[in-house]
Symmetry: C2
Subunit: 474 residues, 2 copies
């Protein structure tokens, strides 16, 4: 029996009865529930599972994994449903594990500045529970993603330039392996050289190597002071050069986001910001009052050198929150430029020295291809997104957008970049991964085959299986 | 033929002739050369290889790997020889790859703040070549280790509290796999979500999964100002509590090192520091002039709250360098307490909230067991070392020290810690690793078997092979 055979061809009642024996009535085949777990925030076609289960404990997850292995059922973990590359699409049907009920904070360790959570908790839920501790969890991908999902896609977002990505902030994981064993990848010590870095192996594995059931993440002190500002630039290159100069100066900028003129138009439409429709940098600085002032002063001086104008400070928490909420909503701001459209969201990341070049070439490509594609970028990391607006019902638009994205990825790879800075591979970047890393992908396949020999864990993602492993599930 | 069969039992001349065909006269079986590549800086017995080769290119390394696979010869990469857990011991003889000639800086990218190097370059060589760039490589494990060796043991050291460990600073690797393929684990972009984190898989793998032939590491801006200070404390707990308070305050302390009274005596003997022989914290702050002053002020105020006395500032570069050189030489300072002794260097790391407890219990154990074992610790990370002084020629001393270390590791594990914060597993921590991570070690073994099915890569390190893989090398 192949792991790629959809559950529909199996004795469905038997499988459901076995699942019900594990989770009781927390299994659903209701059409609405299946649809909710199969659709995508981006342009990918809906791929619903055959059944959605809502586990509440690691033991239940373990029992489900054992069942799926026995019945050769595909198993896809599902967090908040905010991934962008079809990372949780149930390509072969099977069982979707909705982790939403496993959303408890298990232990807060203020002195150690870490927290142990179940994977279904979202980042906003977590931060709301941490409010009184003086600590916070800084990774902010925009959407209110789950911590498990963010771990699995190696998410990052606006504050990665200061606080790192999920790779830098996950201390330890509890994982149910495909063979049913429950492992803990590391202790809670701040660092360790104890063997292979199994924690980092599961961070970014998109659920293809095991199911994450517990996550220990680092926390950071809530800054004494926060200051935000926006600054307009004559062109993209001036904005990028400013970002490079700020980072090289050693200013630990907390956020430094680039928005192009088209995106500013969308944001004005969507959030009524009333800002000039030219390239902007959005800054945020964290630290003591004096240090924040010093950082801001340095950044402002550097921006002025590159023609930055109209440094505007958001001094109250309300203004700040309005600004960053607008930034977090760039997807909707972008969509405001073409009501009814969907977005193909690109995700290349290049060395920052090549960023201006990449952006300028891409702007020319956009102009030539007649696309509407606003830009928003985590410019401190060299990572930027284009929201390529399209009507997914019109195949020629989708093909046009895909061809543009392919040119973009080739351009980024030629500049020593990556096809995905933070969204993961899912199904959308599979072919680009091979272009980017060549035979390294074969080494990934060897790891996959070693840890999931029957291919039950989120099959069909990241890479296609090795030919030899096709259909050999027992 | 087993990979564990020493080369001595093989047609040695044939193997040497094949090696000579690859590296010419850069292969040696001279007794002194073999001994140099088999001995340990710590207490482990010498385990020399059968032959040492000095490759100069990735292509040569690749040819050597292919030869070793064909002949089932163990292959051990060797950097600067400063590892502490027998990580590069040639347990089964075979070929030692001395990477010392592959020590070039291949590309500096100042705007991107990264550098591409060959693995044999040492950290001091690298920093000396970077001097005029305004950037530096901050990871400082004390010894002048090679970048390849530091990568392979996931090294960290005194500045990890501010700049992270090797895991956080390696951007990409070129690796020769056991099957002879040369892979590049990532592009030079600052972050990526492109599939499994193969970079981090090789960081800390101690040469058991492949031979690293190129390393891209992050650089950091040379701080505008640096300030160092020492502060005496009434007891260990007061020093640890100060460290916790400093870190929780958000001060990005660059180094915060704990030295106990015994270690201070050793340092006075060895470096004539003339400091009181009570527990001390050594601090270093990096940043702008104003920010360094602010950080130092905050730390000094916090230290005073916990009874810290006599904050002494090293204001000139010379004083600072004298201070940190003394700290870097704690191994020799410790040995000064018992001339002629060797040191067993322990390496546990616990959550910082448990550090005082761990240190106090350990101090009681030392007192009871009559050992001389000065303490030096990266207290910001919860990682500390004891230099257990012993005469390795006296088996009862070695046994006594080993029993003490075992109690220490059990203590650290009970406090959610790890047996090794930064030295790696090598041969010294193999049994502790299983205690620490349980079945996670089996998952590591599966990865090892997938990437090195014939067990030629640094065999006998980190964990013992799965029974099924014994002797199945072709």
């Amino acid at each position: 029996m192949s792991a790629h055979m959809p559950i529909g061809r199996m004795p469905m009642e038997a499988a459901l009865a076995r699942l019900a024996a594990i989770v009781g009535d927390r299994a659903s085949i209701a059409a609405g529930v299946l649809a909710d777990h199969g659709r995508s925030e981006a342009y990918h076609a809906a791929r619903p599972p055959d059944v959605v289960v809502f586990p509440e404990t690691t033991a239940e997850v373990q029992a489900i994994v054992n069942l799926c292995r026995e019945l050769a059922l595909p198993l896809v973990a599902f967090g908040a449903g905010t991934s962008l590359e079809g990372n949780a699409a149930a390509l072969n049907g099977g069982v979707c594990l909705d982790m939403g009920r496993m959303n408890a904070v298990l232990a807060v360790h203020p002195e150690d500045m870490d927290v142990v959570v179940q994977p279904g908790i979202t980042r906003k839920q977590l931060n709301s529970q941490l409010r009184d501790t003086g600590l916070f969890f800084p990774i902010d991908p925009g959407a209110d993603a789950s911590i498990g999902g963010m771990t699995s896609t190696r998410a990052s977002g606006t504050m990665a330039v200061r606080y790192g990505t999920m790779k830098d902030n996950v201390l330890a994981l509890e994982v149910v392996l495909a063979d049913g064993r429950v492992i803990r990848t590391a202790r809670r010590a701040r660092k360790s050289a104890a063997g292979y870095d199994m924690t980092r192996l599961f961070v970014g594995a998109e659920g293809t190597l095991g199911i994450i059931t517990e996550v220990t993440v680092k926390l950071h002190p809530q800054p004494e002071a926060i200051s935000s500002a926006v600054c307009a630039f004559p062109d993209l290159k001036a904005a990028v050069d400013t970002a490079i100069a700020v980072i090289q100066s050693g200013v630990p900028v907390a956020r430094i986001e680039l928005l192009d003129a088209v995106m500013m138009r969308g944001m004005n439409l969507h959030a009524k910001l009333g800002l000039p429709e030219v390239p902007h940098l959005f800054f945020e600085f964290h630290g003591s009052k004096a240090y924040v002032a010093e950082q801001a002063e340095t950044a402002q001086a550097l921006a002025a050198e590159f023609g930055g104008e109209g440094f505007q400070w958001a001094t109250t928490p309300e203004e700040r929150s309005r600004l960053w909420q607008a930034r977090d909503n760039t997807l909707y701001a972008g969509l405001a430029l073409r009501p009814g459209a969907k977005a193909m969201i690109t995700d290349v990341c290049v060395p920052i020295s090549r960023l201006a070049e990449c952006l300028v070439q891409t702007a020319a490509d956009i102009a030539e291809s007649g696309l509407t594609a606003p830009v928003v970028g985590h410019v401190g990391d060299g990572n930027f997104h284009l929201l390529v607006l399209l009507d997914p019902e019109r195949p020629e638009e989708l093909a046009h957008a895909k061809a543009f994205n392919e040119r973009l990825v080739h351009r980024a790879l030629a500049l020593e970049g990556t096809c995905t800075g933070e969204h993961g591979v899912g199904i959308g970047k599979m072919d680009f991964l091979a272009l980017e890393l060549g035979e390294t992908v074969d080494a990934m396949r060897l790891v996959k085959q070693a840890l999931d020999p029957h291919g039950i864990m989120n099959p069909g993602k990241i890479f296609r299986p090795l030919p030899a492993s096709h259909g050999d599930a027992s």
